[in-house]
């Protein structure tokens, strides 16, 4: 299935030089928006809008749970400064057309990406689930539960993770973690998402390093 790309600024999902960008062709059945406002077009198989921390509803509007069309949101998961993963989180609304979801999957999977589908909730899947854990690890570090090295080692050896929470959140950027958790906290109000002290410090120091 052919896809077109409309882009303004740099995409977090597809940085310059990414092969996916080169695969686009004008007039494709799927329209992909990277930083550009969406244009409603019912003739498209799917219209895909790249999301940051915002919900898809910001782009489409919402109608008391009746929202949904051929417009989907997506983000290729990346841990801040890390390179993007192969995972696409595809965001649907309650009445998103199944054919639009199928078309979006075809386009991304043809590019070798792995697609998961989630509802239009803050943090999608991964950030919603891992950011509280990073917050907890940062708090444990402040409270002296263990050293950063030991916490990371414990997660790698005890749980088989490729990296520990502190090394991962620092590698991705504490200021980035601040921004993601602040956005989650604004929507959920849950204390688990309130940015950890070290993330707040990093954001406040941003640009001074």
């Amino acid at each position: 299935m052919r896809y077109s790309i409309s882009q303004r600024g740099e995409s977090s999902s597809f940085p310059p030089g990414d092969a996916f960008l080169a695969g686009a062709s004008a007039g494709g059945e799927v329209a992909i928006h990277l930083g550009t406002p969406i244009k409603i077009d019912a003739t498209k198989a799917a219209i895909l809008v790249e999301l940051g921390t915002e919900c898809l509803g910001v782009h489409t509007g919402e109608k008391a749970g009746e929202e949904g069309s051929n417009v989907l949101g997506f983000a290729r998961y990346r841990n801040g400064r890390d390179a993007p993963s192969q995972l696409i989180e595809l965001v649907r609304q309650p009445h998103t057309r199944p054919e639009a979801i199928a078309a979006a999957k075809v386009v991304f999977e043809a590019a070798g990406l792995v697609v998961v589908v989630c509802s239009d909730q803050a943090g999608r899947i991964i950030d919603r689930l891992v950011r509280p854990k990073y917050n907890a690890a940062l708090r444990f570090l402040d409270e002296g539960l263990a050293t950063a090295k030991d916490m990371d080692l414990t997660c790698r050896l005890g749980l088989g993770y490729p990296d520990g929470p502190i090394e991962r959140v620092e590698r991705g950027g504490l200021a980035y973690h601040h921004d993601v958790t602040a956005a989650l906290f604004a929507v959920t109000g849950a204390a688990a998402y309130a940015p950890a002290r070290r993330a707040v410090v990093a954001r406040q120091r941003d640009g001074k390093e």
Binding site: C118, S119, V130, L145, C155, G158
Partner: protein
């Protein structure tokens, strides 16, 4: 604590964790006394231990003579009095404060003064377990990871009254046993479970909130973070009823909302969906194959 550790006793050695700890001890050259209240549990555990070492020999990881030597270092008993020779007692009994405290209290009357007591608790306080043991300064937390015979990590936690000498001895013993100790404070869940239990609950809540299907959540976590196993598959492996018990141990101490058992988890347990052991949890298991529930 001048006497070197030569003999280790493992209480609860008839269970999965205790049997694994006994393997670690015997394999490292310590005379190892396997204690449990039930003879049948010890029968089963020692049979599995023999199979484990036989497989090690089969795979070329161990010489047959070494296997015989290791098995020869293992002894078994259901009588606590037989632990009188132990220099170190590691308990891996039921995760209940009263049970563990009572055990240490009885052991204090059996073991000589130099014997160090260690608890393999994953959620309880070392200080509280040690209280009333009569040797609070010689009690330490040694939390092994499951399966203990394969995982090198041990969380080492001193209680408030644990002496520096005890901590140093425990640390050195871990290293001599070929394990990798990490030090944590005596706080609920130490490092591993303090991070894991609330995370797993968050994943259950995400299912309940309709964020995504279990299979999509697991795929996302594995694909995005490189975890070997998805969190919901892990809960199925741990057992949903066990996850409830962990929450019930954890939440009253921490009052962390993330540690409270999610309503969906309780409903699934009530419905008999316990995970792998019942054939169905977040996924359905049929003849070793897994399908999204």
């Amino acid at each position: 604590m001048s006497k070197p550790i030569e003999t280790v006793a493992v209480c609860g050695a008839g269970g999965t964790m205790g049997a694994g700890i006994a393997i670690v001890c015997a394999r490292a050259g310590f005379r190892t006394i396997c204690h449990d209240v039930a003879d049948e549990s010890l029968d089963r555990a020692l049979r599995q231990t023999g199979n484990f070492f036989a497989k090690s020999v089969e795979r070329g990881k161990m010489q047959a003579a070494d296997k015989n030597a290791v098995m020869g270092r293992l002894s078994r008993t259901t009588a606590l009095a037989d632990l009188a020779d132990a220099d170190l007692v590691i308990e891996a009994v039921f995760e209940d404060l009263g049970v563990k405290r009572a055990l240490f209290g009885r052991l204090d009357k059996v073991c000589p003064a130099h014997t160090m007591f260690a608890s393999n608790t994953s959620t309880l306080s070392i200080t509280e377990i040690a209280a009333g043991s009569g040797r609070e300064d010689r009690v330490v937390g040694l939390h092994f990871c499951l399966p203990a015979q394969l995982m090198r990590l041990i969380e080492v936690s001193p209680g408030i009254n644990t002496s520096d000498a005890t901590l140093r001895t425990a640390w050195a013993w871990c290293e001599k046993a070929g394990q990798l100790p990490v030090r944590t404070q005596d706080k609920p869940g130490f490092i591993l479970n303090a991070l894991l239990i609330p995370f797993l609950n968050d994943c259950i809540r995400a299912v309940e909130a309709g964020v995504a299907a279990p299979a999509d959540i697991d795929t996302a976590i594995k694909g995005g973070l490189g975890y070997r196993m998805g969190p919901l598959e892990l809960i199925d492996l741990i057992g949903l009823d066990t996850q409830v018990r962990l929450c019930e141990a954890f939440y009253p101490i921490t009052l962390d909302p993330r540690a409270a058992a999610p309503p969906l988890l309780r409903r699934m347990v009530a419905a008999g969906l316990l995970g792998r052991k019942s054939g169905r949890g977040f996924f359905t298991y049929d003849a070793g194959k897994m399908f999204g529930a």
